[in-house]
């Protein structure tokens, strides 16, 4: 895939309608770029639900175990201190820190997974197809597998009301 076509709509409802039409004709859509999340787009494109929730769960679980385990280790093994005859292994007293650690680990593991998965980060060099997609344009990318078909695809897009159809070469 060296060549691809980009085209856009000016409204998310047109985009959803147009994309349905285009996909029905057998044209593949690699990506859609929009200024805000367009609801219903993932079903149109057949995307799976994000699994980042699981990362959050496991991150939280690790945080909770680490937090609780560490406190328990400190107060029963490493340096048991007697506070007015209270038990060393004082479970209720460990809950707040355990909770905070769970939240901290869940949030950070999920956000890091999110950034890595999305190829986001300081110095990340993602292709910006059109500077107006963060403003008011709903752009989509159609990969061209066979250059002979490029003309036919452009026709399909035009028929579906897409604007600014341009053939581009991948750098």
């Amino acid at each position: 895939m060296n060549k691809y076509i980009t085209a856009y709509y000016n409204d998310e409802e047109d985009l959803l309608k147009g994309l349905r039409e285009i996909l029905k004709k057998g044209v593949k859509v690699a990506d859609v770029l929009s200024p805000f999340p367009v609801h219903g787009l993932d079903t149109v494109l057949g995307l799976r639900r994000s699994r980042l929730t699981r990362v959050a769960f496991w991150g939280g679980a690790v945080g909770a175990i680490l937090g609780f385990g560490f406190q328990a280790w400190v107060f029963t093994k490493a340096y048991p201190l007697n506070f007015g005859g209270k038990p060393f292994f004082a479970v209720p007293a460990f809950i707040p820190v355990t909770f905070e650690m769970a939240v901290l680990f869940a949030a950070f593991s999920m956000v890091f997974a999110y950034l890595i998965h999305n190829n986001l980060g300081p110095g990340s060099r993602n292709v910006i197809h059109d500077e107006r997609i963060t403003d008011d344009r709903f752009l989509f990318v159609v990969p061209i597998e066979d250059e002979q078909q490029a003309g036919a695809i452009e026709e399909t897009l035009k028929a579906a009301g897409a604007l600014g159809i341009t053939l581009k070469t991948k750098e």
């Binding site: 200024p35 639900r49 994000s50 980042l52 340096y79 707040p96 905070e100 901290l104 963060t134 008011d136």
Partner: protein, 456 residues
């Protein structure tokens, strides 16, 4: 799409997406106004004043404060709790209102979250400076050290360390994750080369791809789900600092819910104080409308009423418990040497917010601004009353004492106010004050022009 005919539009004026971008980015463009310079000079001066007071405290020690053997906690802990409380509104708006799918949050969540971050940073300063040796602040974290000592995990003060740190970090990433798409917008709209490079770096290479957006939505939702219980835990733990001790007036089980609602109450007041000025100064009245102000005022009524009930309940329980010391503390609060503080608290927190029941007042910008300042003052005095009046006369009359803040202590507080407002003024120049992408996503269902389209 169904559009309710009764609901007021959340965004006034007929706007398209391009207009929204332009409007929200406009405060960042061009030279700052004369008022901005005046504001930052004033807040910068206050911040320097605070820096001087910090130096004095560290150089000469805590003896420069008005604390004594009886009253070991006073002005600083009051400020700490006050600042943490203010932070809670931001998380409440961005997390809890997101979970409840309240669309009106989109216009105010960004600035409220920024306010949260700054407020927590200001809060964290006070326990640190109270230690007297700022450089040894890291002692509060459990790290392997040559003394083979660990911190006391049974102490609410340590829970506070974890709660505040987690709260600051989670609020920071929550805010930044929400900011990434908007920084992409700033990057794409920037004209200067340097500006483009800086925002390109800050926006982390955001492309607005559908996959990025679905993940973004998942992350926002889960972060909101994590931040919601977190915000409750933070002020609950702050209240444990008092509630787990045996001082009359502190040792009560009502503290956690009472502190949390007080926090949201004071936080919304601070959001109103800031936004009423900001919406006017930045020409964002079409985004932060009277409807938004009214909604926030409704939150103030409900949380203010909870706080009022809590005050009365405390008083009742002090009498009903039959504990002499507890009873004395409460009577002393209302009639003793600090009665003036108690009655300022009662007036500002319980009486004036009730004026918001009148629609004319809660939809009036000037009245709201004045009452929001009253709430800020009232909530500061609430903490002062809890901290100082409970301590100054406890079990042993021979150690009864009075507390008066010194100039240094006042300067420290003024300094944090200065840093807070300086940061806020810088924030409105550097980042979009309103979540652009989020406003766009509700424009169809809540914008004025769309309403007209659906109801012609």
């Amino acid at each position: 799409m169904y559009v309710s005919p009764i609901r007021e539009p959340l965004i006034k004026g007929s706007k398209d997406y391009g207009q929204v971008t332009k409007d929200i980015l406009s405060p960042m463009a061009g030279k700052p106004s004369k008022y901005w310079y005046m504001g930052i000079t004033l807040s910068g001066t206050a911040a320097l004043f605070g820096a001087w007071a910090t130096f004095v405290t560290v150089y000469y020690g805590i003896g420069t404060w008005g604390l004594n053997k009886t009253i070991g906690w006073a002005w600083d802990i009051t400020n700490f709790v006050w600042w943490v409380g203010i932070g809670h509104a931001g998380t409440f708006i961005s997390a809890i209102l997101l979970l409840f799918r309240q669309k009106w949050r989109t216009s105010i969540n960004r600035s409220a979250e920024a306010m949260t971050l700054m407020a927590i940073a200001m809060a964290g300063f006070f326990p640190l400076i109270h230690m007297g040796r700022l450089l040894l602040g890291f002692f509060i974290f459990p790290y392997p050290n040559t003394r083979a000592l660990w911190v006391n995990f049974n102490s609410p003060l340590l829970w506070d360390v974890f709660a505040i740190t987690t709260y600051l970090l989670v609020s920071l990433i929550f805010w930044y994750v929400g900011l990434i798409p908007d920084l992409g917008t700033v990057r794409d709209k920037a004209t200067g080369k340097i500006k483009k490079a800086i925002y390109g770096f800050l926006s982390f290479g955001w492309t607005g791809s559908v996959r990025q957006w679905t993940r973004h939505e998942t992350v926002s939702l889960i972060l909101a789900g994590l931040a919601a219980p977190l915000v409750f835990s933070v002020h609950t733990i702050v209240s444990f600092d008092f509630a787990t001790s045996v001082i009359p007036g502190w040792h009560t089980t009502i503290f956690p819910p009472y502190f949390v609602s007080g926090a949201v109450f004071s936080g919304f007041a601070m959001v109103l104080t800031l936004l009423i000025v900001a919406r006017k100064a930045l020409n964002l009245e079409e985004y932060i409308t009277i409807g938004h102000i009214e909604n926030m005022n409704k939150v103030i009524i409900i949380t203010g009423s909870i706080v009022g009930i809590a005050y009365i309940t405390e008083f009742f329980i002090a009498w009903y418990s039959g504990v002499e010391y507890e009873m004395y503390t409460f009577v002393n609060r209302a009639t003793g040497p600090y009665a003036w503080a108690y009655w300022i608290m009662m007036t500002c927190n319980v009486i004036t917010p009730q004026l918001f029941w009148i629609k004319k007042i809660r939809t009036n910008v000037v009245a709201t601004f004045i009452i929001s300042i009253f709430v800020n003052i009232g909530m500061w005095f609430e903490r002062f009353v809890i901290v100082v009046t409970s301590l100054h006369r406890d079990y042993l009359p021979s150690s009864w004492s009075m507390y008066k803040p010194t100039f240094v202590e006042v300067a420290l507080f003024v300094g944090t106010l200065g840093i807070f407002f300086t940061l806020f003024l810088l924030f409105i120049r550097v980042f979009p004050v309103i979540a652009i992408a989020e406003v766009k996503s509700v424009l169809k269902s809540a914008g004025e022009n769309k309403k007209e389209l659906h109801h012609e």
